[in-house]
């Protein structure tokens, strides 16, 4: 795994599910040496799937597969003293620890920042949790869903008025926290000498969204004027057309705000007579007459396919796009031409077409190369290489329950 942009950076990933594993994957996919440390029962993602044919199998979780590429995997039972000592040994070696356990859990294990920083003053600890390490909710039990809805994002921006506010249909808060942790954590590693050592990088997924996404656009106005808005269920209530509309074979993001864009759309629609009505002259009056204009446009979109609408409107200078299904997103020629997808061979899943690097670094290419580790796959290798333990010592640790697997099984 040498040669990547992050070559030489040593990382311990002690995360489960999405936020910390995805953050650590950003390090491993760009060349850092990442050791994934799992409790004996394994990362919870191994139990959540998606699984082929929905048959649960600890080595066949799609969620685990996609977030743990390029990592070596070990097991360690931090709940006993020998296991905890083993884990601290890895932290002595590491530059970075990435974890997403609830703060109370880390304290229970004797692995909170105060304790682990004693072992390695230069360690950068990236903790990614729903609410963070401080504040009245830091002791709360919480998951991605709770974090997202505490951010104000759903109430303000997603859902129909009077109906329940919505999340994005994915781990939206976890991913947001993960990239925040990656950026701030990587800066802490990069500038460790300047900063004078390691530090705790405390990410609250809720806070990151409440600040940058929701706060940025709303908090100044609310603080000054006491006014605030809520979701409308329409893409842009103050300009039209600007919303998701049905078409013949799915949906399109219908957008024609500026004069040129509206002219372009009119042309593609074949310059219908209704479009020349005075009340449709600019985006504001079109929005004021949304209940009139949207049915007119919809009559047209329903007769055309999403790709055709996108292609013709884009060519006419109008930023309308097809709402791709997951399948359409995965099959688009554009991403294939950019070599975005990579085929990987996994010992249990077989050949799987994975998403590739999230960004391209031509001088130091990244992206997934080796598949996610099997549970405890690198126990022998890692404990020998990194901690310098002899085979007999590793066996002894197994007997003591530090590694969490039966002696002679590895």
């Amino acid at each position: 795994m040498s040669g990547g942009a992050l070559a030489g950076i040593k990382v311990v990933d002690f995360g489960q599910m999405v936020s910390a594993p995805f953050c650590a994957k950003l390090f491993s996919d760009y060349g850092a040496d990442v050791i994934k440390v799992e409790l004996p029962e394994g990362d919870a993602a191994r139990r959540t799937g998606p699984f082929p044919d929905d048959v649960p199998h600890a080595e066949k979780s799609g969620l685990y597969f996609i977030n743990n590429t390029n990592k070596r995997g070990v097991t360690c039972d931090v709940t006993n003293e020998a296991g905890r000592a083993l884990f601290l040994g890895l932290l002595e070696w590491a530059d970075v620890l990435i974890e997403n356990n609830l703060p109370g859990k880390m304290r229970e294990w004797g692995l909170d920042y105060e304790q682990i920083s004693q072992v390695n003053k230069d360690l950068v600890v990236i903790s990614i949790t729903p609410f963070g390490q401080t504040g009245p909710y830091s002791g709360w039990n919480a998951y991605d869903l709770n974090a997202y809805h505490l951010s104000g994002a759903s109430s303000r921006y997603c859902g129909r008025p009077g109906e329940m506010p919505l999340e994005h249909g994915t781990f939206a808060a976890d991913y947001f926290g993960a990239v925040s942790g990656a950026a701030w954590g990587m800066a802490a590693v990069y500038g460790r000498k300047l900063a004078g050592g390691g530090q705790l990088v405390d990410v609250s997924c809720a806070e990151a969204i409440a600040a940058t996404f929701v706060g940025g656009q709303n908090i100044g106005g609310y603080a000054q004027d006491g006014r605030f808005d809520k979701r409308t269920g329409i893409g842009m209530p103050l300009g039209a057309p600007a919303t998701i509309m049905p078409c013949k074979d799915g949906h399109v993001w219908m957008l024609a705000l500026e004069v040129g864009q509206w002219q372009g759309l009119k042309k593609v629609m074949g310059n219908p007579e209704w479009a020349d009505m005075e009340l449709f002259d600019d985006m504001l009056t079109r929005a004021q007459n949304a209940d009139i204009i949207y049915p007119f446009i919809e009559e047209w979109t329903l007769q055309h396919g999403k790709m055709e609408i996108m292609e013709k409107c884009q060519a006419a200078g109008c930023p309308i796009s097809a709402v791709f299904t997951v399948a359409e997103a995965a099959q688009q020629a554009h991403l294939a031409a950019r070599d975005f997808f990579v085929d990987m061979e996994h010992p249990e899943l077989g050949r799987v077409r994975n998403m590739g690097a999230p960004f391209k670094l031509p001088a130091s290419p990244g992206g997934p190369k080796t598949p996610a580790p099997l549970l405890g796959q690198h126990n022998q290798e890692v404990y020998a290489e990194i901690l310098g333990l002899a085979a007999v010592q590793i066996d002894q640790l197994r007997r003591e329950g530090a590694i969490g697997e039966v002696a002679g099984n590895g």
Partner: protein, 406 residues
Amino acid sequence: MAKALPLKGIRVVNFGWVWAGPVTGQTLAFLGAEVLKVESQARVDMTRNLPPYAEGEPGFNRSLSNHACWAGNGSVSLNLKEPEGRQLALDLIATADVVIENFGPGVMENMGFGYAELCKVKKDVVLCSMPGAGLYGPMKNVRTYGLSLTSITGLDSLVGYKGGTPVPVENAYSDPFVGIFSAFAILAALNHRDNSGQGQHVDFSQQEAIMQMIGPDYMDYELNGRVAGPKGNEHPVAAAAPHGVFPCAGDDRWISIAVPSETEWQSLQVAMGKPCWADAPEFSTLVQRVENIDALHRRLAEWTAASDDFQLAEELQAHGVAAAPVLNIADLLDNPHYRERGTYVEVTHPLGFSETIYGAYVKTSRTEADVKPGPWLGQDNERVFKDILGMDAERYASLVDAKVIY
């Protein structure tokens, strides 16, 4: 405390505009980099004119949302339509480590700021380009708005009420997401520069970065050929039930509740006072709760409907159940959690008004982020042109007169 912020000494020239690029600059600035946004009165960024304005007075230096989203970026005003303006930008880049831009492909080249040109003035420069769909490929020129870019990633197809049609997210979640994400990309490239002496041109496709977020459903498609659709607030891989947002007392008040494990389900039952319905066989295992989730959610909604959202969250938390109020904009500023974490801060702008922006959205124990008010257009001109580029007062004045520095 720290000797210095971790990115002290890194200079960034930011051509980023609207939202994503400025957030990239802001993130690096919070961490100690000196970030200089290049902009001009000749073409004022549209977000500088977004109301509401400070003290209600319109002006491109008074947009409150612009200030919050851009805070940390400095500002140098250069009219890039003028050859002298472009030359000065190059002179500044020659002193910088990083250049950021989020125009469409080819725009930088047309201005004379292509990667090859930048390398001539700064051999190991890191240029981070973040167009919507990357620098090359058949769809590279696709036009989208920030809030519709997600449509070409599959993400929009997953947002909506269960079994219904896609509901648009009414602002660009992707903009701050890719802004922060690309700061990581830049740091990776800087790390490589320090290891190898080599700069590079980062091709940061917003589409590909955002697509990472559909990972769970992408895998379900690859492994099972299934194509997911909107699922309300249900768990992305159906590994928890209940998992949703439930009504509470009052107008538009809601609580989020997530129950992935058996233990938490037991705790929820205790918190509810062990109602008979929860004991029914169709709710006895996670698999069955997921299968009968609509009925389960109806029951739970009946139970939550009369309660205060904050009180109920406290009560459920006391039982170990993951629950939290669903906050609206008005709740954020005085929420005790965000208060204690200093999520929002009031600062005094150099132009005299006070404004509320967000501070360090990640907390670091050794270094305290450098939080500044939103930049006024051209605020760093004198320092940059005179101190950094060594321009004398006479030439500076004449370039201001000629609207090159503008």
